[in-house]
Amino acid sequence: MLRMSGIRKTFPGVVALDNVSFDLRAGEVHVLVGENGAGKSTLMKILSGACRRDAGDIEIGGRPATIASPRDAQALGVATIYQELSLVPQLTVAENILLGHEPSRAGWIDRARLAEHATHSLAEAGVRLNPARRVDSLGIAEQQMVEIAKALFRRARVIAMDEPTSALTAREIDHLFSVIRRLTARGAGVIYISHRLTELPGIGQRVTVLRDGRNAGTLNLSTVSIAELVRLMAARDVRDHFPRRRVTLSSLPAHPAPPAFPACPAPPASPLLQIEHLSGDSGVDDVCLTVHRGEIVGVAGLLGAGRTELARLIVGADVPSSGRVTVKGREVTPRSPRDAIRAGIGFLPEDRKRHGLVMPHSVSRNVALPNLARWSTAGWVSARAERTAAERWVTELRIKTPSVAERVARLSGGTQQRIVLARWLAAECELLVMDEPTRGVDVAARVDIYELMNQVTEAGVGILMISSDLPEVLGMSDRIYVMRGGRIALELDARAATDELVLQAALGLTS
């Protein structure tokens, strides 16, 4: 019924999909799996019209299809239900179901027909809901049902569902599965994307695994084992572009560190950062971890596992509800970013543009932001001292900019990342929390950043690196923590780590 073949899609600097094929039979539930960044969402976006493919063919019902916009996709009978749900909370169920297709007479909405259509679609989905209720008064499971009714109203034959069960209780999941079976019994096809591998045999017939933007296999769910799936998701060929020089604690310099980076006076035995039973309202639950000088500690896990939330607790961006953070033996438990910075913790956030840099400002202003106290007397900033310091770091970290007065918005992702790093090194931070350090950085610049990380740790700085890129985590870390559901699921030494171990822990498959 649906056939996608030879699909190719590139974004600047990265090939998201390479010759990917996917087909769906009528009445089938076809599961799509793959780790973060494997290309699942991109494939779905191409199908739903949110993205255009660069190459490849799509056939629906045996006829070639061009999907240039979401409206085209809808017209062809493709409906997509995203994880975040695309409903308008302030409107009623009926209004949402018929959004964009409201029955009207000369411009005035025909309320009677609106309710009638909505009730019909809800019945088709096998759902009992009052169509006059506001969507924001419904629970997640019910909202999902509204989405399904919406898809049915639009006569969808292909329904793609992205992580539908992530927020549901067991009973709601059963109900969802029975609704899906109803849909397929009527001849529709469902594409089901999920990380919850254990549920899959209960609902799907076939499964396709994507890895690094390519097909890794299409199998029958009744015959394949979970372990096999994990293996297909994780297997990797090349791991040698990570120039990690592992720093053993005894190899730390005894002589004073190079002037660029902070020296390391404390004995290597005591940890630089120690976190005990840290919990927060954002979902972080009883996390314990340590980072030593000169170490890169990787934190892996799926999206939503709570890693960024943990980082925010450590750097004082959010306030923890319980637990302790100790730096160099002194308890600091930051309640504000200022506390964390004073304790020597620097934060390189995931979203540089929104949380890291002030985009319209210059390089020197951005580097200076937390450090103004260093270069000012009685509140007056010495512009010369600020510029000199910025120029020094530009040289030290090889930041590519025509001058320190250049706006950071005009510089590349890799350069911007170095500017954030410069800021914390200038603040003499000894622990850096890096959330997705190479996101939005092109391949060539990534290696440079890894080299920088090596340099920085050789001078005694410790790095806590959060990354969704499994090879990066495995290649650059000395030790790895895997998070899942706000807790630490696994801690292991990098030398003993494999993709599968990490992925299994992230998916919750280890006992």
Binding site: L357, H361, L369, A373, W380, V381, P402, V404, E406
Partner: protein, 349 residues
């Protein structure tokens, strides 16, 4: 891009050449384009008026314009700070009125302490002035607390305060103006320094100080940072809420300062003074190149913006244009100025 009158601009460019040439390029882009547009606008306007009427380019008229603009210019100082920090202050007119009547009441009360020659001693005068400024700053800080700690949108908080302060002014005076002050106080408006009238000198002095604070102090940096990216600034360890509060306090302070100048000039403090002053202040700031979304802007630009509006009004008056049409023209000029400024910013991005 050099066109129109650019005398003062030329020297600025030359000054910049002392730095690295690359710094010139990016520094020019950053500060020059916005203010250049404002200067060019003002320059062309003056040129046009010079052609159209002989009365414009007389010394008396120019000084008149500057004196009349001084009130708005001072209010616009605080407004510039607030807008650069990413907010807005609609209550400046009301704070001006309130501070003015407070000042008037104190002066009237302390006249009993005047010496027989009729000149108010400097001590009571400075006390009265300090109290006035304190009232303005306090109302401003109240705005800031509501916005920074109460997390109210600046538009709403200052809108509410606009009414509150206005009501307070009316209460204090029972709705009636307070007039007739001591010549010692009035000399703030009537006096002069080196043949330049006192208000003009003071306005320039205020601008100088405010500019230095904004561009050279940590506080100034934080104001730009909060407007440019509040979260990033917070994550850099800056006490954002505290500094935001102070910024609104500055705005209240400059409104109170303007109230002092106005009361001295008119010899009257009215509870209904300052109506719509916030619009003029915002217009001056925006014409001067400050972006309403925050993070960018300069006081030099605001001064040019205020002068532009003053010159425009003056010119239209001299040309005998009806005041209704004047309002239309001024509004159109504001829109045009922002469009041009936006267009320039887009081009160099």
């Amino acid at each position: 891009m050099h066109r129109g009158r650019d005398g003062p601009l030329q020297s600025r460019v030359q000054h910049r050449r002392r730095g690295a040439s690359a710094a010139v390029a990016s520094g020019w882009n950053r500060y020059g384009a916005g203010r250049f547009a404002a200067f060019a606008g003002l320059g062309s306007l003056c040129l046009l008026l010079w052609i159209l009427t002989p009365h414009f380019l007389t010394l008396a008229n120019i000084l008149n314009v500057m004196e009349q603009t001084s009130i708005n210019a001072v209010v616009a100082i605080g407004m510039t700070y607030v807008i650069i920090s990413g907010g807005i202050d609609l209550s400046v007119g009301s704070i001006l009125a309130l501070s003015g009547v407070v000042l008037a009441k104190i002066l009237k009360a302390s006249a009993f302490g005047a010496n027989p020659a009729g000149a108010l001693g400097w001590f009571p005068l400075s006390l009265a002035l300090s109290a006035t400024l304190a009232v303005g700053a306090a109302v401003g800080i109240a705005n800031g607390v509501g916005i920074a700690f109460g997390r109210l949108p600046p538009f709403i908080m200052t809108l509410g305060m606009m009414s509150v302060a206005r009501g307070a002014a009316l209460l204090v005076t029972d709705g009636r103006p307070v007039s007739g002050f001591d010549p010692g106080f009035r000399s703030l408006a009537t006096g002069s320094l080196l043949a330049v009238s006192a208000p003009i000198v003071m306005t320039i002095a205020f601008y100088l100080v405010a500019h230095l604070v904004l561009s050279r102090t940590r506080f100034g940096r934080y104001v730009y940072g909060i407007g440019g990216n509040e979260e990033a600034t917070r994550l850099s360890g800056v006490a954002v809420r505290f500094h935001k509060t102070i910024v609104y306090g500055v705005s209240g302070l400059t409104s109170a300062t303007a109230a002092v100048l106005l009361t001295a000039r008119l010899n009257t403090a009215q509870p209904i003074a300052g109506i719509n002053y916030e619009l003029d202040a915002i217009a001056a700031t925006v014409i001067g190149g400050t972006s309403l979304s925050g993070g960018e802007g300069s006081l030099g630009g605001t001064l040019v913006g205020a002068l532009t509006m003053g010159v425009l009004r003056n010119g239209l008056n001299l040309l005998g244009v009806s005041s209704f049409l004047q309002q239309l023209v001024i509004g159109a000029v504001i829109i045009a100025a922002v469009l041009v400024d936006r267009g320039l910013k887009e081009r160099r991005r």
